[in-house]
């Protein structure tokens, strides 16, 4: 696998100096993301997932170990990365189109002004925002803003797309909509993705590999490969196969949290039964 890996994270450990003393966040974390792959990372809150994204994007350097992209050690920010966060962070004083084009003002793309605009318009129509190009972010719904944020992350054709809980603040239906949009975008754009999420259904729906991080300090505790023909339609999320995968992941999360299953069991829906009643929709976990 490592031969074709685009992102390689090798024995990374990181400790923050905080007011209350050193805080070790990552401990000997290793994982690979194959080129063109889609890896979801799940783990307990505060275990270091966002820190991991900052290491991959070069916003931070690990104290120990190394991060390689295309065989090259990441030493600082690189323009071949696109990022989207839970907060869409659109600029209120720019139109949606101008927001999407922002990275092209920084990265040398070799595109003419007209081509840049065409590229932005293409992405916006791909995510279903055609006709909203001239609107201000405040005129859009939360889901639409998140779509625009996704376009901005992709406009400069990054090889690596980093998504840190981009759908975390959306309601369940909007979120499912965006999952499907994500598949559509992935079919058109050749990026390699790392998705941080708290939603296990989201992880198996979008990713072809799910990595469960342990509690802090985090290491890769469990890796689940989602078969190609995995739950790529919403209906498939309710098959016995999907339920099985979700049950495994949920169990791994419980181990990562190190909690007695009896205590907080009511806080999460119980693992879906193998054959759910027709029309049943499990509530996705919405932990901030």
């Amino acid at each position: 696998m490592s031969a074709e890996a685009l992102i390689e994270i090798r024995h990374v450990s990181h400790t923050f100096d905080t007011a209350s003393g050193p805080l070790q966040v990552l401990n000997d974390l290793s994982l690979d993301v194959p080129e063109g792959g889609f890896v979801a990372v799940v783990g307990p809150s505060g275990c270091g997932k966002s820190t991991l994204t900052r290491l991959i994007s070069g916003l931070m350097r690990p104290q120990f170990g190394e991060v390689l992209i295309a065989g090259e050690r990441v030493k600082g920010p690189r323009s071949s990365v696109g990022m989207a966060f839970q907060n869409p962070v659109l600029l209120e004083w720019r139109s949606i189109l101008k927001n999407v084009m922002l990275p092209l003002e920084i990265v040398r793309s070799g595109l003419s002004r007209k081509e840049q605009e065409e590229r932005a318009r293409f992405l916006l129509s791909l995510v279903g925002l055609e006709g909203f190009e001239d609107k201000r972010p405040s005129e859009l719904s939360g889901g639409m803003r998140q779509r625009a944020s996704l376009c901005r992350a992709l406009v400069h054709k990054p090889d690596v797309l980093i998504l840190d809980e981009p759908f975390g603040a959306l309601d369940a239906f909007t979120r499912e909509d965006l999952w499907q949009t994500m598949h559509k975008v992935k079919a058109e754009e050749p990026f390699t993705a790392v998705l941080i999420t708290h939603d296990l259904r989201e992880s198996i729906f979008l990713a072809d590999r799910v990595v469960v991080l342990s509690g802090r300090p985090a290491h890769a505790q469990y890796v689940l490969d989602v078969p190609r023909e995995g739950p790529r339609t919403l209906d498939n999320l309710y098959t016995p196969r999907a339920a099985e995968m979700l049950a495994i992941l949920r169990h791994q999360i419980e181990i990562a949290q190190g909690r007695a299953p009896a205590e907080e069991a009511s806080a999460r829906p119980a693992p879906s039964p193998p054959a759910p009643a027709p029309g049943e929709r499990a509530t996705p976990e919405t932990q901030a």
Partner: protein, 253 residues
């Protein structure tokens, strides 16, 4: 719609003047107790040239002081907004400086730079008005959500690119909020100095000469002229705000 937006405030002013006239007339107050609006017309007419010349002086000194306050305040705000250490170092100094009542500083500056009418007036207008600007810019910059920086930083953008493209425009609404406070303060500063400074100029000096000559209608006329100038200055800032930070205004309803 626009007709209404002009008519309503104009009507309000007329009602206000009428009530004022009525109050003075009903109480039979002499002009030295309180001049009525009808006494003001002759005062304006008599000193019309002086009003124009002095009004202009007050105006440009206020604007000059304010412009200095903007330049200096934004610079200090930037330093404090970007560096924690500088913020910790400068904050107590600024607060202490701002806490000193400017009425006590005015006579000191007046003596220090006696005869330099323009200079000492602009200086006071500046000193009294830069504080809210510095604080608002520093708060605006330091509370910028880290994701905004990260979006550009992850692409390799420099600090100054991040400042011009994101931090500065994002701070503009707070900046204009502070500028509205600052413009009023600068105006007060200018007038304080003009009144206190011996042989001063500007509307403040005109007020002072009204006082010396017991020309009470003149004093009241100056007050009205000051109010008008104050309104003009304030709405100049409002227009600037609409132009540069109009996006921050949420569509109503």
């Amino acid at each position: 719609m626009t007709a209404r937006r002009i008519a309503v405030p104009v009507l309000a002013v007329i009602v206000f003047l009428a009530l004022w006239e009525l109050l003075v007339w009903a109480n039979g107050w002499p002009t030295y107790k309180m001049a009525a609006p009808s006494d003001l017309g002759p005062a304006f007419a008599k000193y019309f040239d002086l009003f124009l010349i002095y009004g202009w002086q007050t105006l440009w000194r206020t604007v000059a002081g304010l412009a200095l306050a903007v330049v200096f305040g934004v610079a200090v705000g930037m330093v404090m907004g970007f560096s924690r250490t500088m913020r910790d170092a400068l904050y107590p100094l600024l607060v202490g400086f701002n806490a000193v009542p400017k009425a006590t500083v005015v006579p000191i500056v007046a003596l220090m730079f006696v005869g330099w009418h323009d200079f000492n007036t602009v200086l006071i207008a500046f000193m009294i008005s830069f504080f809210p600007i510095a604080v608002s810019v520093s708060i605006g910059l330091s509370t910028l959500e880290p994701e905004y920086r990260d979006i550009l930083r992850s692409l390799g953008a420099s600090q100054s690119t991040i400042f011009w493209k994101i931090a500065l425009p994002k701070t503009l609404p707070e900046f204009f909020g502070a500028l509205k406070v600052a413009v009023t303060l600068a105006f007060i500063g200018t007038n304080l100095m003009e009144i206190v400074s011996p042989h001063g100029r500007g509307l403040g000096a005109l007020f002072d000469s009204g006082k010396t000559n017991s020309d009470y209608p003149l004093m009241f006329a100056v007050l009205i002229a000051l109010a008008v100038l104050g309104i003009v200055l304030y709405y100049m800032v409002v227009i600037l705000e609409k132009t540069f930070a109009g996006w921050a205004e949420r569509p109503a309803g």
